[in-house]
Amino acid sequence: MRDWKFSVNSGFLGRRRDRFTEYQPDRTLEEKFKLIEKIDGIDGIELKYPLDLKDLPLAKRLLKESGLICSAINVDIKDAAFFRYGALSAQSKEARDRAASLLREGMDIASELGAGLVTTCPLADGYDYPFQIDYASAWGRFIETVKEVVSYRNDVRLALEFQPHEPHAKIMLSNVGKVLHVCTEVGLPNLGANLDIGHSFAAGESPAESAALLRGKGRLFYIHTNDNTGEGGDWDMISGTVHFWHWFELLYTLDRVGYDGWFGGDVSPKHFGPTEAYDTNTRMIQRMIELLKRMEPEKITALVNKDGGIAETFNYLSQCLVGKL
């Protein structure tokens, strides 16, 4: 089995809120780095742009002092003030230009901080009602803007993160198929996906399948680790707490298809706090990997490749968990 590196999405280290309440205090960048130092097994940090990177020398110094690697720059293009009617797909050229320039700035910073990767979740590009947007032209603009961004420099990769909904009832980039479609349309090798496992569950997918599809086309650039209940709510829960077997299948598949990127933790600390959230999230994944090693992935492969062998497969898997009964 491969050894994957783990990072934490800094967006979850400060103040958080939902529609009704706020959780956790605001924290400075120094405090966010200090929090990560307390968590075992974390090698990197995913930094938010613009929020965390108003003072670039400070970010550089903190990275150096902590020994953490910048795993990705997460560019925020959903600001309600500018992107009220879309960002990448907006009718307003001003809004599209602003989104593109934020992403380009993010690419420059990603290069400077050695991450070489920008990730963004285009949540401003969506709609609530039927007849609200003109899909054909909106998709045309979306693809054009993405093409413009990734053409800016070929030494930094852009990972698009799909999400089925929120804050709009429908997000344009809502599933793995649409990401692959955008990659094909744009046709440049530095465009790919950030597969957020919870978003994939919320979209009704089996993340292992999505990962295999993306990797097959050379587009699996980054992964956000989390879980949820699968009814559509993006709860950002600790990985494997709900979809135990699906998470297993995902890890098995990632090893099999040779994913060599990061595991970016994307877990909501709610009221129990970020240290415990990320400590547990990392440990859960590491333990699942250990368990997979014991299960001998090549044996799983042999079982999976037998048509009609699902009973035998689960007999084997469950026996590995609890022994013979």
């Binding site: 959903k78 039927p130 909904h165």
Partner: protein
């Protein structure tokens, strides 16, 4: 005909985990905004937010001649009651919480309103093995019993919701909530049927209304719509036009026709007054369509149970 109310929380700033929409508004501004919406008869007031100055609140109600559909008791507070509001296991929190509920009930009576509604959003869990369900239902029964006993004239309504902000709320659907009310047994404990909540938990709102009415627990109705996947608080009928017509048809049969509909619709990027103007127009239009259903004809169609006759009849009314 049912009167129409706006929930005051939707007249100011609204937010989700990513965005804030609209601006914070004072109580004066909220009343002024509601008054610009033609066809609005009153407000559902939020406790404690709207009750900082009771005298002022009374003056505003008088000045604008607004009725009160209900008092919405907010059971969440930032930074406290993380272990549950109605289901808290801490004695001191239980006391603090029930005292707060009683104050809200007293405030309602002071305004001559005999209905409080609450969505127990704090009572639920994210993870498996996070909440002891056995204890949680017991604590909830104790808290609601105490509230109902405080003043039997005040109807206490539980607004169920499947999730958000918890991955699973304790009161998630119509069956769970109706049976809980019956288990507690107080006659003044019932349900607020929020149509959006019913839709995204997979219910047919008309069916839920009938179940609640049969259990004598249909106390109040909130109108809004969504895509069936999440609680988007959208314009009624934007997604589920026929579901609303079926609901209205049955609400009339059940005698819920001289009461209130309260709106929780999220104004988001669209102007708040424009949003609620559309809400009023759409609600009344959906009622007009419902009026076109001839009850005798529908009765005979329902007897036949033949959708090849019923659905074309419904479309003939458009």
């Amino acid at each position: 005909m049912n009167k129409l109310a706006i929930i005051t929380a939707f007249l100011g700033a609204v937010k989700n985990r990513y965005m804030s929409y609209q601006e914070d508004r004072t109580l004066d501004e909220k009343f002024l905004m509601a008054s610009k919406v033609e066809g609005i008869d009153g407000l559902e007031l939020c406790y404690p937010a709207d009750f900082e100055d009771l005298k002022k609140l009374k003056e505003l109600l008088k000045q604008y001649n607004f009725g009160i559909s209900a008092i919405n008791f907010r059971s969440r507070r930032t930074g406290k009651w993380w272990r549950g509001s109605f289901t808290s296991e801490s004695l001191s929190e239980q006391k603090e919480f029930i005292d707060e509920v009683k104050r809200a009930m007293d405030a309602a009576v002071e305004l001559d309103c005999y209905r409080i509604t609450t969505c127990p959003l704090n009572d639920g869990s994210d993870y498996l093995f996070e909440m002891d369900y056995i204890k949680a239902y017991d604590y909830a029964a104790e808290t609601f019993s105490a509230a109902c006993a405080h003043n039997r004239q005040v109807r206490v309504c539980i607004e169920y919701k499947e999730s958000d902000p918890c991955a699973r709320c304790l009161f998630g659907n119509v069956g769970e909530t109706a049976s809980f009310c019956q288990m507690v047994g107080a006659d003044n404990l019932g349900v607020t049927l929020d149509i959006g909540h019913a839709l995204y938990t997979g219910e047919r709102p008309a069916q839920s209304a009938v179940l609640l009415a049969n259990a004598k627990r249909l106390f109040y109705v909130h109108l809004n719509d969504n895509d069936g996947r999440w609680d988007w608080d959208m314009l009624p009928g934007a997604y589920h036009m026929w579901e609303f017509i079926e609901l209205f048809y049955y609400l009339r049969q059940l005698g819920y026709n001289d009461d209130w509909y309260a709106f929780d619709v999220f104004p988001k990027e669209i102007d708040t007054v424009d949003t609620f103007k559309a809400v009023v127009v759409l609600t009344r239009k959906l009622e007009t369509l419902t009026d076109r259903i001839d009850p005798k004809k529908m009765e005979s169609l329902l007897e036949k149970r033949n959708p090849t006759k019923t659905i074309p009849y419904l479309y003939s009314l458009l």
